[in-house]
Symmetry: C2
Subunit: 198 residues, 2 copies
Amino acid sequence: MAHDTTKRREALRESLIGLAEAQVRADGLASLRARTLAKEAGCAVGAIYNVFDDMTGLTLAVNGRTFGRLGKHVSDAVAKVADAPPTERLVAMAIAYLEFASANPNLWRALFDVEMSTDRDVPEWYMQELGRLFAIIAQPLSELHPDPEPGEIDLMTRALFSSVHGIVLLGLENRISAVPRERMEGMIEFLLKRATAT
Amino acid sequence: MAHDTTKRREALRESLIGLAEAQVRADGLASLRARTLAKEAGCAVGAIYNVFDDMTGLTLAVNGRTFGRLGKHVSDAVAKVADAPPTERLVAMAIAYLEFASANPNLWRALFDVEMSTDRDVPEWYMQELGRLFAIIAQPLSELHPDPEPGEIDLMTRALFSSVHGIVLLGLENRISAVPRERMEGMIEFLLKRATAT
């Protein structure tokens, strides 16, 4: 009996994540509504809060899937150029990041737009997913700087991730500064080649 | 009589921009409501739409003021180091950008979050404000590259602006990647020194 309850709860959880993911993909994070989801899942609104602490908890679960897919897309792109010099691998990752953001604009935006109050603990698994993404970037940087100052690789990793993110964000999303895809790739190459020249 | 109408209209326009600016500054762009503004301005909701095409038109007017203040803050910072080498001037601009964003987070976010449908013409004056900001960045880059390829300075300007924007955005706004101010400055210096090394 307790076992059945756990199974039902788990099934509802998976169903809600899938429905929320479809909603965010189609219309963005701001369109997510507990009432609509409950209707689609065939459950009461209150049942959602039996499974997730709040709607942010559900959004984090959706983002967890997106992180996983993004990480796989970037890793696959790097694997194809595994023998290339570090800078070329970084460019391949950044282009893969641009591709993922282009193909999944709403899911990608939700990774950054999720509301997290400072008093809310960010779940451990979330930080691990983030850490995995940063580790992929840190690898070629470590090869370029085999004897770094303490914290140097981490600072470069975050600076370059943030920079590529800024280029992709303003290039894709903001219509007043939107630039053709080819030009975004040009900016990414300019930036990474310059930043990693030794 | 027609003159009085024009003056009243202009006064209402200024009043609405001021009220909207205060609202965006306090609670962000998403909190802007025609009904609330009309109440504060002591006018009918319809009167707002006699002065602005729509709420986006009002937001653009608020953003125009913010652009002006941001441009002044950045220009003033550069003026203080007018005799420094180009890279140091770029760093001073970027730090000034970080300061402005830190001090005016909601107004700064509104510059990028305003909804512009692709079929809406971006006003000429808006593009000019943007052009002025980019010209400030392009100046030291032109000194570093006195004989650029066609389009090279523009690409570098946009790439570096977007990169600094990304560092400031993720550093300030996103709690899962928030970093101390000093570290953001470190990332900005790393990036700009690397990117502009000749």
